[in-house]
Symmetry: C2
Subunit: 245 residues, 2 copies
């Protein structure tokens, strides 16, 4: 049972492959393709109002009814370790050793997991955060996790305060969280669509934007840089973001 977009799809598919029942709590304003994907993987969806209290209440009701185990989208050790396997796969498939890797940070599951997976490999780990939701970068500067986040960014998957378990791992093991503007995110997203032919969402493009940013380029990293691209939930019935300027 789980309450987030890419997480929902991933768990629904994993449950289906193992013959396990999966129950998903989703906000009522979720994009139709996301709903269709989760359903096609055989998960049962319960909709809730799009806010945190409604989500928690609906989650509790569904858990009580089904006896299902709650699998949080980021603030949990196993979720973090699971998300770290993306880097393990990338290292397996890359012929040369990576000099660095970048991952986006919202709740921080992917970034903390990436940092743990990079332990002992010599790969330098960077986070990427939109300037309109940069609670993690601010928390790192202040030496203390922030409880709230602005949600003033196109990168909707990153409008989440970094988790309690995630923050200290990031503090300890991530070299730097690079903050990028929505303009940089949209430019990076378009380049990924045009040249890699990948439908990625703004949250995913954030890591690529960070690697192209002056802040990263100034570091003079030598060698291949890996980028963790995590999702492609884009509402394709709407105009693409770069056509809206």
């Amino acid at each position: 049972m789980l309450p987030k977009g890419n997480h929902a799809g991933a768990l629904a598919l994993a449950a289906k492959e193992r013959g396990i029942k999966c129950f998903v709590v989703m906000p009522s304003n979720s994009a139709q393709p996301k709903i269709d994907a989760v359903r096609s993987y055989g998960a049962e969806i319960t909709f809730c109002e799009p806010n945190a209290p409604a989500r928690a209440a609906t989650l509790a009701t569904v858990q009580k009814r089904t006896g299902a185990t709650f699998i949080p989208p980021y603030d949990a050790v196993n979720t973090i370790l699971g998300q770290g396997t993306a880097l393990l796969e990338l290292l397996d498939q890359t012929p040369e050793p990576l000099a660095a890797v970048a991952a986006p940070v919202g709740g921080g599951g992917l970034l903390a997991g990436t940092a743990l997976a990079a332990e002992g490999t010599g790969v330098r780990v960077f986070g990427a955060e939109p300037s309109g939701a940069d609670d993690c970068a601010q928390g790192l500067r202040e030496g203390q996790r922030r409880d709230t986040v602005d949600a003033n960014t196109i990168a909707d998957g990153l409008r989440t305060p970094v988790g309690h378990i995630n923050f200290p791992i990031i503090q300890d093991k991530v070299e730097q969280v690079i903050v990028v503007s929505d303009e940089e995110i949209i430019r990076a997203m378009r380049l990924l669509w045009e040249r890699l032919k990948l439908v990625v969402e703004p949250s995913s493009a954030t890591a690529f934007a960070a690697v192209m940013s002056p802040a990263f380029q100034r570091l003079g990293v030598k060698g291949p840089v890996g980028i963790i691209i995590s999702g492609g939930n884009v509402d394709l019935s709407q105009p693409l973001p770069w056509t809206l300027e």
Copy 2:
């Protein structure tokens, strides 16, 4: 030296990797991302008016000036054999044997190459053609290659009469060319974007549309079906086709 979109990009990249100079003749109305891609692979572009006589004349001028060898986009044995390697790669990477494979047909390089690569493997080969440019399917019915083609389809890469070398290979080795409407192509394209997260152009989606069509489904093919997806040249500054209805 070469005059077509995906072909141009592929050859420019192949030439770059081998340290060979590459000259491309392109219509002056080519999409900017296509131009940028070919340039970034180091090829030198000469623009021509967007019609066949202008293209041939410009090609001749460039050849005379540079001494370059002309590499035709489809109507040539080596091009056909090269395009057939897509199926070889697919067979290499597929754990189970394929029951069938579908490829789009415009000039017919990809389809003839696919059919040759499938020889002796037991894989059934199907072509896919838009109803607004179905010269190949018509030619097969009439037992004779057609010299002209309507260009009344969104699948711009397939608005080409099938080549002289390509047609008899297709006649001999392809089980059936399935004709699909633009509506079916757009629906297939959207599904590839939403679920496989791939930016594919209408011409590429044509093969997937054929596999989803009633004509193909009636055949009752048992087992995995391969689809050759060949290009993602989509002008992302324009509205996506399914938003235009």
